[in-house]
């Protein structure tokens, strides 16, 4: 952040401060209380959760976290989700980078149409395409397959990644690449040796956002996956609500762990996440 705005602080009264912190306090409470309460519940016994007695865990137990792995096998679904999010991000970044560079740098017929088309996908409610997507995925033999899901998630994150990377590339000066090309470097050599390192900050940004998006994805996972062995963590969370033989402590602890992954990622990479979302937003 730059230093703008600091001059505005000086003449705030005590009342203004009370107003400011009161307002912020209420908003934070409304936004976080349910989540914090559920996270605290993951240290409660099933009995306490069922009865709803008390805000704090009493007695305190870690059984839920043990059950989340021993009974619910959360780690298996987390591994699946890691595969989808990890490889899906790589796929989206790879394809988007390859497409963004020529569309940022060179002018040719159809370029603007193509850019507009890719960007338009970012502005459409994609759930409207649910049935056709199911149909296409089934016809490609990719229904309920891990590889299929990775490819699909790459496609799902492609428009966002493309738009941000292209905007970034448009804003970088082309001199270095032009010099390399004059020296006889080929297109891909230039792309990977010169452009890629320069693009790293933008790549890091979109990578975090794409990863979190895929980690949190429910709609298409619900549509395109059915086997236990292929499910992602969000499907498992949704399943917690409708099971007969039900371990509530394990479920709440599991839900907490699933939420903590993107939260931790955000806390560590706050800068990139915020920059990425802000950049994607203005498109």
């Amino acid at each position: 952040m730059s230093e703008t705005g600091n001059t505005r602080i000086a003449r705030r009264s005590v009342w203004a401060n009370i107003l400011i912190y009161g307002f912020l306090g209420i908003v934070v409470l409304l936004a976080l209380a349910p989540t914090v309460w559920v996270m605290l519940s993951s240290f409660k016994t099933g009995n306490q959760i069922f009865s709803g007695n008390g805000f704090w865990p009493s007695p305190f137990t870690l059984q839920g976290f043990i059950d989340a792995f021993t009974q619910i096998h959360l780690h298996e679904y987390m591994l699946n989700t890691l595969i989808y999010a990890g490889l899906g991000t790589v796929g989206a970044l790879g394809t988007a980078f390859l497409a963004a560079y020529p569309l940022a740098r060179f002018s040719f017929r159809g370029r603007n149409a193509l850019v507009a088309l890719f960007s338009l996908a970012l502005a459409l409610p994609l759930v409207g395409l649910a049935t056709p997507v199911f149909f296409v995925v089934r016809e490609l033999g990719m229904f309920d397959s891990r590889l299929g899901m990775v490819i699909f998630y790459s496609a799902l994150q492609f428009p966002f990644t493309f738009v941000v990377l292209r905007a970034f590339l448009v804003s970088t000066p082309p001199e270095l690449e032009e010099a390399a090309m004059i020296d006889g470097a080929g297109y891909f050599t230039t792309l990977f040796r010169i452009v890629l390192p320069l693009t790293r900050p933008a790549l890091a940004t979109v990578a975090v956002v794409a990863f979190v998006n895929i980690w949190n994805e429910f709609f298409f996972a619900n549509l395109l996956l059915v086997s236990e062995e292929n499910r992602n963590v969000q499907l498992v969370l949704a399943g917690f609500k409708s099971q007969f033989g039900f371990n509530v402590t394990g479920a709440v602890a599991g839900a907490t762990l699933v939420m903590l992954v993107p939260i931790c990622l955000f806390l560590i990479l706050q800068r990139q996440v915020i920059a990425g979302l802000t950049a994607g937003a203005v498109k």
């Binding site: 990622l265 920059a275 802000t278």
Partner: protein
């Protein structure tokens, strides 16, 4: 704060680069104001050097393949089958029958009304709240950085997780909400999610306080407002309140429009929360268009599901164009 703007081009720019800087993502922290600098002209770019045509095609191919397969083909399938009875196997043209059936189904109208209700909750509660918090945090009160982080955290939690959280939170017997109301001496026996009087509000309550995204956008935009404007205002004796309402707020028009756009897109396609929390009940009081389409898909009426899908997309486009007009968001990219 932005990794994107650190690499902006030097100011001794050729015409090419000047256009490029107008195209750049305005992440904030900078002096130039996007709205002042934006040009509607498309970016020119250099002509393709000799021998590069082949590699460029190869470079575009993977993206085109992905995009074509999972966006364009489904889109054509959607437009084609919205006018047909289709279950994935059998196929028959039925003209406008799907749309006729849709407009005769009261549940469809409930779904539209609910979807628009959620959109309205975002536009009139979530976004203003986010703008308010963003403006307050931009005043840099003590601890603003930590507060920004805290306010943002709810945004990275998934819809499915919120469904689990709020099915517990709203549980009329063991949930926090009723227990807290009871402790305050208020009536604490309402079944928030399964009472037609409160169900929609309860669902809206799960997302209207997730304002981190708006806050961050607003703060970035405020940081890019030149300080001189405020200095001049202070000299003229304007109070903080006057500065906020007369300088900051008008300059935020663009970013508020953007925030509304993004939320509308989410709301028009709202599914996860409702599907997991209430499955659309009671008496379809919480059902959304996406859920309505999904039900049709499940019962094998794919043509009908696609007709509903087309309505979702059209409503999305209409709302987006309206908001872009209303907030005069530039013609770039779209």
């Amino acid at each position: 704060m932005s990794v994107l703007t650190r690499h902006r081009p030097p100011h001794s720019a050729s015409g090419n680069e000047r256009a490029a800087s107008a195209e750049r993502a305005p992440v904030g922290g900078q002096v130039e104001r996007r709205s002042l600098k934006r040009s509607a002209r498309p970016v020119s770019g250099t002509r393709i050097p000799r021998g590069m045509r082949g590699p460029i095609v190869v470079s575009l191919l993977p993206g085109l393949l992905l995009f074509g397969t999972f966006f364009l083909v489904p889109f054509f399938v959607l437009t084609g089958t919205a006018f047909a009875r289709w279950s994935g196997l059998d196929f028959a043209w039925v003209g406008l029958d799907n749309y006729r059936q849709m407009f005769q189904d009261p549940v469809f109208f409930k779904a539209i009304v609910n979807t628009l209700f959620y959109a309205a909750a975002s536009v009139f509660i979530q976004v203003p709240l986010g703008v308010g918090v963003g403006m307050v945090l931009a005043l840099r009160p003590r601890g603003w950085k930590a507060l920004r982080t805290i306010v943002f955290v709810p945004f990275v939690i998934s819809g499915a997780a919120y469904a689990v959280i709020f099915s517990m939170f709203y549980n009329p017997r063991a949930g926090l909400l009723n227990n807290a109301l009871g402790a305050l001496g208020l009536p604490g026996d309402r079944d928030w999610l399964f009472d037609t009087a409160t169900a929609r509000w309860a669902v809206a309550g799960t997302f209207v306080f997730i304002i981190g995204f708006v806050v961050v956008l607003v703060m970035a935009e405020i940081a890019s407002i030149p300080n001189e404007l405020y200095e001049a205002a202070s000299v003229d004796g304007a109070t903080t309140w006057q500065q906020l309402t007369r300088i900051t707020l008008p300059l935020l028009r663009n970013v508020i429009g953007t925030a509304i756009l993004i939320r509308l897109l989410v709301d028009i396609g709202m599914f996860d929360l409702v599907f997991i929390l209430t499955a659309g009940g009671p008496d379809d009081a919480t059902a959304t268009l996406a859920l309505y389409a999904y039900r049709a898909y499940l019962s094998g009426e794919w043509g009908y599901a696609n007709a509903v899908g087309s309505v979702i997309i059209v409503i999305g486009l209409v709302l987006i164009i309206t908001v872009r007009r209303a907030f005069r968001i530039g013609e770039r990219a779209l």
